[in-house]
């Protein structure tokens, strides 16, 4: 098993956190893992993306040039990564911030109105976790439980109170994925 994904969006959308969480979950599952961030010098705004690889074998290059899967949180990121996607690749899109259709017709596309769903769940900052839940449920690089366990390492102390809503977000994402897979 070797799963590669690019997670991309604006700085501040939790792109890196989602990637690190996925990497940590992979490590918890005793897999080989690489996490490679790529962003400009700015703290907020600007585009940010990370490459995460989870594998049963030692990982050679940590760079993903032609993604088999991408979690895309904004329009500039879709513009950037859509042309490079592998055929039959999986695009998980934050439809709330992407006002156009996917141009290619050889990709698997899951469009999620994540911003609206996040608001309904009571926290607008969990868009990243909803979309991560979708990706994990479809591609299964790690189990949802491993991500939940890993989350405890990131949300400590006064951030601990955010664990339930983030878990809910992952589960909501899983639900959307199941629908996409036609299991519900």
């Amino acid at each position: 098993m070797e799963k590669k994904v690019i997670i991309a969006g604006f700085g501040g959308q939790g792109v890196m956190l989602a990637g690190e969480l996925l990497a940590e979950a992979g490590k918890e599952d005793n897999k080989y893992v690489t996490f490679l961030p790529s962003y400009g010098p700015e703290m907020r705004g600007g585009t940010a993306n990370c490459d995460v690889i989870i594998s049963d074998e030692p990982i050679a290059s940590p760079i993903i040039s032609y993604p088999e899967a991408a979690v895309i949180l904004n329009l500039p990121s879709l513009d950037k990564f859509e042309p490079a996607m592998k055929k039959d690749g999986l695009l998980v899109l934050n439809k709330s911030l992407i006002p156009r259709e996917v141009k290619r017709n050889d990709l698997r596309v899951v469009e999620v109105d994540a911003q609206t769903i996040a608001k309904e769940l009571g926290n607008e900052k969990i868009v990243n976790m909803i979309l991560l839940g979708v990706y994990i449920t479809i591609e299964k690089p790690v189990s949802l439980d491993s991500v939940k366990n890993a989350m405890k390492l990131f949300l400590k102390g006064n951030k601990e109170k955010f664990i339930p809503v983030n878990e809910k977000a992952l589960e909501k994402g899983a639900e959307i994925a199941e629908e996409f897979l036609g299991r519900k």
């Binding site: 490590k27 893992v33 690489t34 996490f35 490679l36 050679a60 940590p62 760079i63 040039s65």
Partner: protein, 355 residues
């Protein structure tokens, strides 16, 4: 060995250095390695060790020089433009026979350049950089686990030969995360002050003097001979490299650091198509695995060198091959990292007439 921790490459450098018994850090911030001093600044005071942010890189390297003269395990870390500012100190340290470790997380140059990963400081690290006939031991890890392990070796080699050891990584290795298993903490209480250290005369019957100055040419020549003797021993004993799928190889990629990691993917791509490609990865860039490449030249049809520069290690590969086989090159400049697909396509251009 403990359990695995998911860590950033820059933090791995700092954690491994502390575990290896590094007692002092002096440095000046520069992207893309600021997480190294940040980590040291949090942890070193807790251990009762020194963290000091100097006023400039020039000040930092001279503080390193000073600490090194006392036989203390000392480190500085920086990135390309900062390392350039330190070169005078490098040269002084070399002719003073004192041990220290320097990490260069290379970024795009020349000049202020950018903050993207590059390998364009190979010449500077391997061929001098500072003035005079000197070498530093230069080691280039290619995964974070190897980086964690080699930091221990860096300090050991520095002490063993009283020499500067440069750990040459790039911005990508500083920023990426990977699970790492660290070696156990070195017991610093067992460290003994070396008999050459300048820590006060005390009950010694002579004063220790450390200097890179010798006004008389005959004297300075002697100091140079001493350095050259030391370098010969290092060249004989400390060459390190990794070979990947080289036993039956007809072609070899030569690459170091990050690009060697990408090259491993290239080797696997070629093998999937039945092309007998292997990888020769120098771990020590100085001393360079010249003899290995000399030997491999017999079995190979050609070498294909790939680097994040305009062809720097390429010269050392060519010197070792000595015209017996072609040596082709593919590099990216200014901080651009090629994909495995790019490198493979370039490699295959040379194979066409060959098969």
């Amino acid at each position: 060995m403990g359990e695995k921790t998911l860590m950033k490459g820059a933090e791995v450098i700092a954690e491994a250095a502390m575990r290896a018994g590094c007692m002092a850090f002096f440095g000046y911030p520069i992207t893309p390695q600021n997480e190294v001093p940040e980590y040291f600044s949090r942890q070193m005071p807790k251990l009762g060790r020194v963290f000091l942010q100097a006023g400039s890189e020039v000040a930092a390297i001279n503080m390193v020089y000073g600490a090194a003269c006392t036989g203390t395990r000392v480190i500085t870390t920086s990135s390309s433009p900062g390392i350039s500012l330190m070169q005078e100190g490098f040269s002084y340290i070399a002719n003073s026979d004192v041990p220290c470790v320097v990490v260069n997380a290379m970024r795009g140059g020349p000049g202020l350049g950018d903050i993207a990963p590059a390998q364009a400081d190979y010449f500077q690290a391997v061929k001098g950089g500072g003035h005079g006939d000197y070498h530093s031991i230069v080691i280039a890890p290619y995964t974070l686990q190897e980086e964690a392990d080699l930091m221990f070796d860096a300090f050991d080699l520095a002490d063993k030969y009283r020499i500067m050891v440069v750990v040459l990584v790039d911005g990508l290795m500083g920023q990426m995360m990977e699970p790492v298993e660290f070696k156990e903490w070195v017991d610093v209480k067992k460290f003994k002050t070396p008999d050459w250290a300048t820590v006060g005369q005390r009950d010694r019957d002579h004063r220790n003097i450390i200097t890179s100055l010798e006004i008389l040419a005959e004297g300075l020549e002697k100091m140079n001979f001493h350095l050259q003797e030391k370098y010969k021993i290092i060249e004989k004993n400390e060459v390190r490299f990794e070979e990947y799928k080289m036993d039956d190889a007809e072609y070899a990629i030569t690459a170091f650091g990050t690009i060697a990691r990408i090259a491993k993917t290239v080797v696997n791509m070629a093998r999937d198509e039945g092309i007998k490609l292997g990888l020769i990865r120098p771990i020590t860039l100085w001393p360079f695995p010249t003899k290995l490449i000399e030997k491999r030249a017999e079995q190979l049809k050609f070498f294909f060198d790939s680097e994040l520069n305009a062809g720097q290690m390429l010269e050392d590969v060519k010197l070792a091959v000595n015209g017996r086989k072609p040596v082709y090159f593919y590099g990216k400049l200014g901080g651009i990292v090629p994909s495995a697909e790019d490198i493979y396509a370039e490699f295959k251009k040379h194979i066409k007439g060959d098969r």
